[in-house]
């Protein structure tokens, strides 16, 4: 029996070799018909014997190209038509409105083989790619994803490349960035002033790296600053120039074997390292790694990633480096540089040389950072490789632009059931980041051909994102409380719709009472929340200064507990000038320049400072990370008690906690033991409060979100305790649980609040 079927496919099916895949299958099975792009994705019509059509359908899914992501597939019977050939219809304008754009993808195994094969015509060509790999998002100006709309428009294809591009049986059929030595982009090696230096650019780069210089290397989503990771003088020079003094630096290694010599690599880590997204993977560093201490001082973890561009592969293949530091090319925490001139200007005094090229990067995109712990993947920074893949959310909500928070910012735009979380932007206070924030919004509007009429923003009036949102004309703006957004972010990615118990633990968020929240247990849904419990309020002497100087929080907590840290003569205060100590205590007592906070991050800071880990931080959450890192005393099963004050909104009291820590300090109990007792005490207190809230409300679903859940002891521990109580626990893996995931939650909430059809 002969039949004709119409198959509609949605998802990431454009720019990933999906139509040639269909063509090749039709050819293999001798079917007639056509394939074309539609508003919803790709539509295929195939005609042939019934059983062959069945095999075609199975192969369509099972042999789909590696980058394709089929969201839905529907089949209907249509009338047979005359004709025996199978054709690919070209895209037409306006047909691409709902198709998804692929992210940038690491060089595939086929291209890598060709790159290193002296017999191949692209041997050593630093821009080799195919439909299965290469740049996408970062070279895209507008949709549809066709060469004239990318920064490859500047390069005309040579006859050979064009032939590949036109051949449905070639791996490069419709590969938009297709190029070769004869027709494509070329490398250039420049000095610090941007003047070309003669010689082979790659060989020059390798020589200068070996000699200990800092080379800025143009990558997929921006420049990296690169030094030989085994040379401690070079690493220290890089830190000094970049003004990044303690924050760990990411290291690129040639392969998993080398990664394994530096870190403990689990099976899950290996899969992440080798995934086409090639994120930076945080893993436990081996003490005998042989890398200089200055790569990640006092950090138990190391961030490792594998080469993902042909340039990086060539550096390792020809330079035989054991490890290269590859850190975003910027000053302090500003956004990554992408333009050649911009890089030379902004990296003045940092980069000694540049390995650049003439293919423009149209959109900044940093490396993504992930961590796997006991089978759970956490996204620390969601950028290259993951953006612009959407998170699937509830259908039927109005489109929203959510502008996120202030730190580690990322925006989110929803369209239908897709929430597009944009790339990592950084801290908005920097002018460059604020401009990048605006670029990121404009680019999303561009590639989605979409301008939502609702804008969601944080409740904090001072956030630059809030100020930007409220200045926009002709749109409705919806303020969303910070921790409500964290919980909604977790609900959205787990597709929960009902009420949940939301545990939001983070550093700082503006509360509805004007205070600084951050240790919150909420009863929430997408339309609102109640504050069911929170850590007790303590003053934050000097506001943001108390974040930079955790010793201030120790003083505030001790004072709150009724102790006088000055009389105790506590060792951690040894380095603080007596005048400052007295002043900060008075500020706390008299509430001078001291907002109140219920922040969990500040509680970690206070404990870390009190037990002598550090009095000042140079990057976010540094003290809390060190407190977690020293929590290693596995034999210890004691725990500190918190006093929970019952009421409509429970206050989790910390006074007794600090009395117990003081007593332990007096008895010479180790940092490791105190950290352990603190973690365990906090966990069982939270679990107990959550359990009681669950009993009184009947809610069984618990969402964990907020930056403190990057602490794996906290996440894993709370998850285990709550499951034992029979509760269902949800965490985040698609977007960060920190402020990078905030915009997704804001969008989900505003979508529900702004949905006029809902009553």
């Amino acid at each position: 029996m002969k039949a004709r079927k119409r198959i509609s496919v949605s998802g990431i099916v454009q720019g990933v070799g999906f139509r040639p895949h269909v063509y090749r299958l039709a050819y293999r099975y001798g079917l007639s018909g056509h394939v074309r792009n539609t508003v919803a994705g790709v539509t295929i019509e195939v005609q042939g014997p019934d059983d062959t059509l069945g095999r075609f359908l199975r192969s369509l899914e099972s042999e789909a190209p590696p980058l394709a992501r089929i969201a839905s597939l529907s089949v209907e019977e249509v009338a047979c038509l005359p004709g025996t050939d199978f054709t690919i219809h070209r895209s037409e304008a306006g047909e691409h409105a709902d198709t998804l754009i692929a992210p940038d993808i690491a060089t595939c195994a086929d291209c890598l083989r060709e790159l290193l094969d002296p017999a191949d015509r692209r041997y050593g060509y630093p821009f080799i790619n195919c439909t299965n790999c290469g740049p996408r998002f970062t070279i895209l100006k507008r949709i549809p994803y066709d060469r004239p709309n990318t920064s490859m428009a500047a390069f005309g294809m040579c006859a050979q490349c064009q032939a590949e591009y036109d051949d449905p049986f070639s791996r490069r059929f419709h590969a938009q960035p297709n190029a070769c030595w004869n027709c494509g982009p070329q490398l250039a090696f420049l000095d610090a002033e941007g003047n070309a230096v003669g010689g082979d650019p790659l060989a020059q780069t390798i020589d200068f790296l070996k000699a200990g210089w800092i080379v800025a290397i143009k990558g997929l989503g921006g420049f990296h600053l690169c030094v030989d990771a085994t040379q401690s003088a070079a690493v220290e020079e890089l830190r000094r120039c970049k003004r990044r003094f303690e924050k760990p630096l990411a290291v690129m290694v040639p392969d998993v074997a080398q990664a394994d010599s530096l870190c403990v690599v689990s099976e899950a880590d290996r899969a992440l390292l080798e995934s086409p997204q090639r994120p930076i993977v945080l893993m436990r560093a081996r003490s005998c790694s042989g890398l200089p201490e200055s790569i990640a001082p006092r950090s138990p973890d190391l961030g490792i990633f594998l080469p993902y561009t042909p340039i990086q592969h060539l550096l390792f293949a020809r330079g035989s480096f054991a490890a290269l530091v590859m850190t975003s090319a910027n000053l302090c925490e500003e956004p990554i540089c992408i333009e050649n001139d911009e890089a030379i200007d902004r990296l003045r005094g940092i980069a000694d040389y540049f390995l650049s090229h003439d293919r423009e990067i149209l959109l900044r995109c940093d490396d993504s950072v992930v961590r796997n712990f006991q089978g759970r993947t956490t996204m620390l920074r969601r950028s290259r490789g993951f953006v612009p893949v959407p998170v699937t959310i509830e259908r039927g909500l109005p489109g929203v632009l959510a502008v996120g928070g202030e730190l580690k910012s990322a925006v989110c735009m929803t369209k239908g059931e897709h929430a597009f979380v944009g790339q990592h932007i950084g801290d908005l206070e920097s002018l460059a980041a604020y401009q990048f924030f605006q670029e990121s919004i404009a680019h999303l509007e561009n590639i989605l051909e979409w301008k939502p009429s609702l804008i969601a923003h944080d409740l904090h009036p001072g956030y630059l994102s809030t100020q930007w949102a409220t200045q926009q004309q002709d749109v409705r703006t919806i303020p969303v409380q910070h921790h409500h957004a964290h919980i909604a972010s977790c609900m959205a990615e787990n597709q929960l719709a009902g009420r949940v118990i939301g545990v939001a633990l983070d550093g700082t968020g503006y509360g509805t009472d004007g205070q600084v929240w951050g240790g919150e247990i909420l009863i929430a849904d997408f339309r609102g929340f109640e504050r069911a419990a929170h850590l007790n309020y303590v003053p934050m002497p000097g506001g943001a200064q108390a974040i930079r100087e955790p010793w201030r929080m120790a003083v505030a907590y001790l004072d709150h507990a009724g102790g006088n840290c000055l009389e105790e003569g506590l060792p951690f205060l040894g380095s603080i000038p007596a005048g400052h100590l007295e002043m900060v205590r008075r500020m706390a007592v008299q509430r001078i320049r001291s907002p109140l906070t219920s922040s969990c991050g500040r509680l970690f800071d206070a404990v870390a400072a009190l037990i002598g880990l550090r009095t000042e931080v140079s990057f976010e959450a540094q003290a809390a990370i060190e407190l977690e890192a020293c929590c290693q005393d596995r034999m210890e099963d004691g725990e500190y008690c918190f006093f929970v004050q019952e009421g409509e909104c429970r206050a989790i009291g910390t006074a007794s906690l600090f009395e117990q820590i003081l007593a332990d300090l007096k008895h010479g109990v180790s940092q490791a033991t105190i950290s352990r007792r603190f973690h365990r005490g906090l966990l069982s207190t939270l679990a107990d409060v959550i359990h009681r809230i669950s009993l009184s409300t009947g809610i069984q679903d618990v969402c964990l979100s907020g930056g403190c859940f990057l602490n794996t002891h906290l996440t894993v521990g709370l998850d285990r305790l709550l499951r034992t109580e029979g509760l269902k626990v949800y965490t985040q893996s698609q977007v960060p649980c920190g402020d990078g995931g905030l915009s997704l939650g804001q969008a989900a909430i505003a979508g529900h609040l702004g949905d006029v059809s809902w009553r």
């Binding site: 925490e333 920097s430 604020y434 904090h460 700082t508 976010e620």
Partner: protein, 329 residues
């Protein structure tokens, strides 16, 4: 409370409440003073209320402040201050002794500023309905008809000059109010600016606009100018004069000196070719000895104030909203 802080909320109140109600072209200029053409003469007119707590502080008191504040609002418009009014609101039972001290301090301040206090008013209110005393002063000055100084005059390439170290007044007040003592004494800079301004005008340099960065500090004044002129302002952190003891106090208190009030400092925007000359004239005057060129006007980043930090990064210095609540995590 934030509505009186000189930051974004006060600007919002002005724009959303007062301007629509009283709206006229003179008020619409939104400068620190109004210019009035009367019978061929050009007058500058301004008023200000003083509610400072405590009434007495290192370097001055509410009386001298009430004179300087109004004198300076006239002076930064390029006017020669002439006459002041003074109105007092006293809390029942306010010690006469204190009032005498304050009034004599006003007399001295007026003499120093070469102005006369020519009219006034006193009201006594019930105990508890005012905190000790409030003073309102209004002032009239005369201004050259050719002079046109205004916050909308800044243009790309212009230079930003500042007459001396910032933050002294705000920190002195805070220390006094909260009973904080710092390692070194910090004294309010309250002073009249009329003579410094007169010296600057005498140079004939092209001055676009002047401000006394009082409440909200240099940050708020610069933001206002950037927004009103539709330009960007870029400051250099390293060039901004700041006393070591004020820097230390700000760090302790978690304050950004750019937002701290000054009562005797002058911010001037001038044409680039005249910058050197104007700066030299500032530095020759005793009140401008610590003057410095702190930044410039840009066409990029219109409406924004930015600062290149000591580390070399460029950050946005926005209108102050709801400090001291931290924005960072």
């Amino acid at each position: 409370m934030g509505h009186g802080g000189g930051g974004r909320l006060s600007a919002d109140l002005f724009r959303n409440v007062f301007l629509p109600a009283f709206g006229n072209s003179i008020l619409g200029r939104a400068d620190d003073q109004a210019f009035l053409e009367i019978g061929g003469a050009r007058l500058a007119f301004t008023t200000d209320s003083f509610v400072v707590k405590p009434l007495f502080f290192r370097g001055g008191d509410i009386g001298s402040l009430a004179v300087h504040g109004t004198v300076n609002d006239l002076a930064v418009g390029g006017a020669t201050p002439l006459f002041l009014s003074a109105a007092f609101i006293l809390e029942e039972g306010f010690p006469l002794e204190c009032l005498r001290r304050i009034v004599s301090s006003m007399r001295e301040a007026a003499q120093r500023a070469s102005v006369q206090i020519v009219t006034g008013d006193t009201k006594v209110v019930e105990k508890g309905s005012c905190d000790g005393m409030f003073i309102n002063t209004a002032g009239i000055g005369i201004v050259d008809t050719h002079l046109h100084l205004s916050a909308d005059q800044a243009r790309p390439g212009d230079v930003v000059l500042l007459s001396g170290p910032i933050g002294d007044h705000g920190i002195a007040i805070l220390a006094e109010r909260e009973g904080l003592s710092f390692e070194a004494d910090i004294v309010s800079d309250t002073a009249p600016l009329h003579s410094l301004v007169a010296d600057l005008l005498a140079t004939g340099a092209t001055i676009r606009c002047m401000r006394d960065p009082t409440r909200g500090g240099v940050a708020s004044s610069c933001n206002e100018i950037a927004q009103t002129s539709g330009v960007g302002i870029q400051l250099e952190e390293k060039a901004i004069p700041l006393r070591e003891e004020v820097r230390g106090a700000c760090e302790l208190l978690g304050l950004d000196p750019l937002y701290i009030a000054n009562e005797g400092k002058l911010l001037a925007i001038c044409a680039p070719e005249d910058a050197e000359r104007l700066l030299a004239a500032m530095q020759r005057h005793p009140q401008g000895a610590g003057a410095s060129r702190i930044g410039s006007i840009t066409s990029a980043n219109s409406g924004l104030l930015t600062m290149r930090t000591a580390l070399g990064a460029t950050r946005i210095v926005d209108m102050l909203a709801n400090d001291p609540l931290p924005r960072i995590c």
